[in-house]
């Protein structure tokens, strides 16, 4: 049993990674794609058929062929896509962490392991394709037994707990585009406070017109690059015309340092700090725009908690979606770290390659960040050759081509609807 009265803050390290991204499934393919600047944005014919303004998106490929190596036939009868993406990334992270997937008929439970796996719009594909049409057709009797488990907000974590026999806290969070980052935050404190030895944390989001439609109707998606999908996601560009919707899952296996050492686990990085907050829709903040004051506070509190100096931060994996908020984000980073634009750490947008994976974005991008620390590289942000005039002063800090360079400390932030923010500080493990 863990000693819950122990006051010492536990150190939290990353011992496993799993990723289902539009440009690669698994850490090896994903890292290769990041290094080479391979885009995962493609034409989505269904969106064209449905008369979407934006007809491109980031959809993970080749997943259907791999399902039988992860799931039983019965599992698949009760899993929608977000559950599938989330479970695959989690099982991959679990195995990557040197742990084995338990037998289904074993009664052993991992009492000291839990999960926080969220999504932005959970179960919406199941709601749209089965729940609503069948109820409206007076066929509620014929919906079967698996609607609740696929539409409840905790669908992703609830399924995973059964696949891996998790016995600690098992929950799903939701905070729009900050979901994946918030999940990492939540798991971090659970371990730091001695409540669990290890936590699988992250987010998952389905590839579905029902997930993306609301954003299309808000006119926040890029509708001007349907014939050039790989050019469509353009963070920090003068010709950025909105974000490109993405999907997938990113999961980190977080673990307290003693436990990781005891079992001789490979350690990727240390998570030094994690902070979330909200701008309260004041001071320029709203449902859809950030209160800069809260963004600055969030980043500064993460730096303070980490006990590092701002000058020690080598690089930033930004939120940077390719909307009008990009220039503001860069100014906020510069304010928060109290540096001039010319002094800002290197900055990148993983969304330039995979689009905005919504509830999965923060955690997929956190996987990218950890891979960069471990691999000694920083991937380029594509499609911003024509920098936005308002970010010109940051030009030397915006990395457009992958650089091979050992990095020690990277900050990762996410911002979401509801005026919510999250910031994580990862340190390379030596």
């Amino acid at each position: 049993m863990l000693d819950q009265t122990e006051q010492v803050k536990k150190r939290v390290v990353v011992t496993g990674l799993g990723v289902v991204a539009p440009n690669g499934h698994g850490v090896n393919d994903f890292e290769r794609a990041l290094r080479a600047g391979i885009s995962g944005i493609r034409k989505v014919p269904e969106l064209e058929k449905l008369n979407f303004r934006c007809q491109v998106g980031g959809v993970p490929e080749g997943i259907d062929e791999k399902l039988s190596s992860y799931f039983t036939e019965e599992d698949l009868l009760a899993m929608n896509q977000a559950m599938i993406f989330g479970a695959i990334a989690s099982i991959d992270a679990w195995r990557d962490g040197g742990l084995s997937v338990p037998e289904r008929n074993s009664d052993e439970v991992h009492w000291d392991t839990g999960c926080v796996l969220g999504s932005g719009l959970s179960g919406i594909d199941t709601i749209a394709s089965r729940l609503v049409p069948m109820i409206n057709a007076c066929k509620v009797r014929r919906m079967g037994s698996s609607i609740v488990e696929q539409t409840m907000a905790s669908s992703i974590s609830a399924k995973l707990s059964g696949l891996l026999a998790l016995g600690n806290q098992v929950t799903s969070n939701s905070s729009a585009c900050n979901t994946g980052t918030e999940a990492i935050h939540d798991g971090f404190y659970h371990i730091r406070n001695g409540q669990a030895e290890r936590m699988l944390v992250g987010g998952a989001e389905a590839s579905s017109p029902y997930v993306w439609g609301g954003f299309d109707s808000m006119r926040v998606l890029n509708a001007s690059s349907n014939e050039a999908p790989e050019k469509a996601s353009r963070p920090m560009s003068a010709t950025a015309g909105g974000f490109v919707p993405g999907s997938g899952a990113g999961v980190l296996l977080l673990e307290n340092l003693e436990s990781a050492r005891q079992r001789g686990a490979k350690i990727y990085a240390e998570l030094l700090s994690a902070k979330v907050n909200c701008g309260g829709h004041r001071n320029g903040g709203s449902m859809t725009a950030p209160n800069s004051e809260s963004v600055v506070r969030c980043i500064q509190s993460a730096v303070e908690e980490a006990g590092v100096k701002t000058q020690e931060i080598d690089a930033i994996n930004g939120h940077l979606t390719a909307t009008m908020a990009d220039p503001l984000e860069l100014r906020n980073w510069s304010r928060a770290l109290e540096v001039t634009p010319e002094q800002l750490p290197y900055i990148q947008s993983t969304k330039s390659l995979i689009g905005h994976c919504l509830g999965a974005a923060g955690s997929i991008e956190a996987v990218a960040t950890v891979l960069e620390l471990q691999g000694g590289f920083f991937h380029g942000s594509v499609n911003c050759e024509d920098l936005h005039p308002e970010v010109e002063s940051f030009a030397n800090r915006i990395v457009q081509r992958t650089v091979e360079k050992p990095l020690r400390l990277i900050a990762k932030a996410s911002f979401g609807f509801g005026d919510v923010n999250g910031c994580l500080l990862f340190k390379k493990w030596d």
Binding site: T72, E73, E74, L77, R104, R142, G144, S145, S146
Partner: protein, 85 residues
């Protein structure tokens, strides 16, 4: 008993039965829950699949009385006999 009915029912239970060995050697006496290790929530799905496969309607009370493979065979044969009459 119609052998075809029996094997169709076994086929329907297949994805839901956790004990595949017990399914292979199932008899009329095999219990869906105890022997084939079908989770109780999924019995609903087996009944729905039976309705589709045999084009019959099963009332809730009839469904509640299905414990063994034999119960399901008897229920379906009764339904089909009524339909044919």
């Amino acid at each position: 008993m119609n052998k075809e009915t029996f094997s169709k029912i076994i086929e329907i239970a297949k994805p839901f039965a956790k004990n595949k060995e017990a399914l292979e050697s199932a008899t009329l006496e095999s219990s869906f829950l105890k022997d084939l290790e079908v989770s109780s929530a999924r019995l609903v799905d087996i009944i729905l699949d039976l309705e589709d496969a045999f084009d019959v309607e099963v009332e809730d009370e009839e469904a509640n009385n299905v414990n063994t493979v034999g119960d399901a065979v008897a229920l379906i044969e009764r339904k089909l006999a009524v339909a044919a009459a």
